[in-house]
Symmetry: D2
Subunit: 343 residues, 4 copies
């Protein structure tokens, strides 16, 4: 069977990446592509890399234009997806790349987003313990944020095994500029970005913070609090996350390594690298793969985990397609057998 | 039927790209991977992005280790492929990414390469007039250089239609650093490359010059001479070629546009962009696609054509796989349905 | 004596670079800094690198706010400088970084800019033959465009010596993104720029074309016509220009080299590199230096000249300060003894 | 008086940056420049950006060639400076950019460098409490490492004021590739670096770790232990350090801000930015300035400090020249009044 797909936000980076992946997916057909200010234009004028789709016309993003398809991808600004989803039949698979349905805690939502909580949907990170099952057959899926996906895959095995402490967790991550989307802001100009690094959202205020804490707390079975600092790096794609936590009593390097291996050895997209080899974002660019490596700093009593992803692929569109495959009962890896484009 | 493939030079950029593409090709199986100084190591330590092939052991590059496969890709330094090819059976498909068998003129070879001419093999650029037929069923193929592939696809239709003059052709092109391979030279260090541009091989001495002239002369049916200047740009991949030639008497913009459309409208990988849209290397990175656009400068009496490619894909490994498909009688696009990774 | 300076357009890249240079100039004092949408803000919030000037308040750009200083730098959009200059006393030195007063030909101005010609001011490129004298003591100066400055310094000696032909001149140049200023356009986003190259203004339509032709024609003593194609490179600063022209009868490599040496050996900022060494933009970034090298392609019968500059320094603000020094009778190099920041 | 200077390691990045700064220093004259494999060549062929010094001949690095000057800069590999310094008179000012004389603890030296400890020299970071006095008149100075300089300037005020805890200090920093010097290693090739980030020296093994701990412990008056993870960013220059520590009981954001302001308000090169403005490496590239900003994360109970520097300037050569000025009794800022080259 071929599934018909509608993609909103098709003029943006997330929507474009969904389309790039779906164009190579053997079981789907791209139906409607929608956007807002570019409605009426040919897709090829906005996403020139999507050559086979170049002549598709972009429709206005409305529930009407998205209806009548088996799967609807929402790659819209935060706050816009709830209303559209409510107008789509319950048996349509709706996959939301925005934050709207990621947080279970209304208090956390309101503290970080300042609007009314809309309830959580199944969280599209199948590599978390027990999560794959929750996605199978689901018809509403919240795609994780790009930082949370990368950081949770880096830290979850240690918390799941009880080998690190839930306080004084510190994460510093670097992202490529596509994480900020196509918004026209001065600090995102090439002249400003190339050749330099800068932080943003410092001091525990980045909106991905509660999402990371939610995932780690669920896995740990106890409340986990993190200090998270994101930085902007001079590259278009990629996240490199350095996550560090205090070792629990008795935690050893070998126990940690075993815990990660047990968790990831059978995963198709998450890889614990051989000892001595460290993740680099270049090796996963354009792919749905995430690489992970860890070290124990005996002097400081800390675990340091580094994880690398492509923020637009596993961090957004690839995770979305992987979740779609699970929800539809397809092979989880369909359309995602792309390797990193390196160098 | 599944074809067994051997890839030499597997530790380098060209070999790695051949493997990236073949890993997604439905009709092949990767047999031997060989290299020189890294023989004995796991492929994953040298090409960490090729995750499914990470545990393959690299063998020493010898005719013995490459024998016994249906197809052998040679991604070796110039001068090394002739000897190896001579030791492989004639019914093995040998695809050479080096320059050794590209030039038909012994004099041109000797002038630019300074060694004995080894004879030309069918030239792996099927989009040139009449060339597709020469590749079908062939068992020896010379992969074009990355500059010639990009520049020939840019200029050939104009010469084939007799709409430009064969003298005073001027080409200036920018390449990403992967075109220089993994050789450890000071000017290729990231510190030297990032943030700047520089020329090299200026004054008609770059070795791709006679190859470009050979292709244009064949198409034009008369000797074409070019001034070619390559430059090194701060990017890992991509070629942007600006090619300009004097208009022939009576040549018009519409005649030129028609000539290009006629040549490329049915090509799967070469695209004349809609008027007003210009090629950008980012839109084809990681893909086998080449984009082309042209303008007529009435004041200067010149055609200006810009073409963009990924030097490692259509410029090397993608062109090689496309040629392999033709030689084996397969669908020309197998394994090559990848879209550009953008942004 | 200390000269008081006013700088308009102080929030942009050109204005910021003028201020960076003047902050280290021993004979000036920065008076007013003006801009438009950021009037009222501290300069440090818009130009954080200008630390000693961080607390200066930006004024609105009006003739009143610019009056009362010895020198006024205009770094405004095209079309705005004439009106302001008309309101400033004739003995105030006005230096215009916009195009408004560069072209002598009203026809060329109207063809490329589509507005009424305002007349030409002395052209601020003292290295052109006879030009230094015209700037000394002048009170109105038009700063050359960044491409024209770089290309004229590359080609002028050959034309002045009559060693190249005035037709079939072809120039392809790459610029850093700061050449496009701080305007918020999608194609200037870091995500779009990094990792790729693209052309723009193809086909003889770039507005710097008549300015280059004007300079070359003056030097050659005959009309020179060029084909000029600009490209956008993934770097913040720098221009690399590849300029090529047909050799005149009897022109030799040694005659050309002598002509360039004679012209530049005593210049403080323009350097003919030793044979074998080629210009790279990295080596002049942040400095007022321009490097030049040439080669003769005997096969193609062409001279190829490569010249490199920092588009914001010698290409704009440095040339402006150099011209100011000449106009005021100061040592031409004051405030400009900065070396390239490399790597 | 004009001081005569000799610079060893003149072919490398640190040596080149020392020369770039000294070329604009009003009280010095560059005498000998020395290196190893490039001895006999013109400086201009190795450091093309140092135009006024281009014709100086590089001498072999020997004590003889360095002798006879008032000041000797050593920019040599670790382990080489002790022997040379021992052969220079005690009244010659020797400034060592290597690590050899930075660590006071023989145990720490041996643990991290694996060779015999050579004793500590006065540490060239005058902004640390009490440090300026130790440098004045000194004749042996150890230049701080680039990471320690940047991180100590970020964290020292908090520790000096007793406002943070000495355990669970976590630092993650990104550096430009010039920090690795000109060594020809595959992972430093432009093709590998551009477009990606990667970590190195993970797990508390980077050699700058004990140097940072030494500086913080001295300032805090108690032993401080850090977890330090360096990462390699796709830029040639710059360090962005994110440093975080647990708040001491009763520490408030305002107390912290006051402590930093008190420490830095009179410093010429270290700047606490206005609230809301965050450090970016681009704004200090090419300059001796360091920018610092801080935030308190109440939820996580942590101080987060971000500091930005140019690793080659304040992180190496600029700090060296600043220390030289102090040692010679000159104005501390001579030769260092350069602003960041931005964008």
């Amino acid at each position: 069977m071929t599934y018909s797909i509608a993609v909103s936000g098709a003029s943006g980076y997330a929507g474009g990446e969904v389309l790039r992946l779906l164009a190579g997916h053997p079981e789907v057909e791209i139906g409607a592509v929608t956007a807002h200010s570019s409605a009426g234009e040919a897709l090829g004028s906005l996403q020139p890399h999507l050559r086979p789709l170049a002549e598709k016309t972009i429709l206005e993003t409305t529930a009407e234009n998205l209806a009548g398809h088996d799967v609807v991808f929402l790659a819209l600004p935060h706050g816009a997806s709830g209303e559209i989803a409510a107008q789509l039949p319950e048996d349509v698979l709706v996959i939301d790349a925005a934050a709207d349905h990621r947080l279970e805690s209304a208090a956390a939502w309101e503290a970080f987003y300042g609007s009314a909580h809309q309830g959580a949907w199944p969280y599209g990170l199948p590599e978390l313990p027990g999560q794959r099952e929750k996605l199978t057959g689901s018809r509403r899926i919240a795609v994780p944020g790009c930082y949370p996906a990368t950081i949770l895959l880096g830290l979850a095995p240690a918390f799941a095994a009880g080998l690190v402490e839930p306080t004084d967790v510190v994460v510093v991550a670097a992202t490529g500029t596509s994480g900020a989307g196509k918004s026209l802001k001065p600090h995102l100009l090439g002249s400003e970005v190339m050749g330099g690094m800068s932080p943003y959202g410092v001091g525990g205020v980045h909106r991905h913070t509660p999402e990371i804490e939610q995932g780690l707390s669920t896995v740990a079975g106890t409340g986990v609090q993190i200090s998270f600092t994101p930085t902007l790096a001079p590259m278009a794609r990629g996240i490199l996350a350095t996550s560090t936590a205090r070792l629990a009593d008795g935690a050893t390097a070998s126990a940690l390594r075993e815990a990660y291996a047990a968790r990831y050895d059978d995963e198709p997209f998450v890889h614990l690298l051989p000892e001595g080899q460290w993740p680099a974002t270049k090796h996963v660019i354009g792919s749905n793969h995430v690489t992970v490596q860890l070290a124990v700093d005996e002097r400081a009593g800390r675990l340091i985990v580094v994880s690398a992803s492509d923020n637009l692929t596993k961090g957004t569109a690839g995770g979305a397609v992987q979740s779609m495959n699970l929800a539809l009962g397809l092979d989880e890896t369909l359309g995602l057998n792309l390797l990193g484009v390196s160098p």
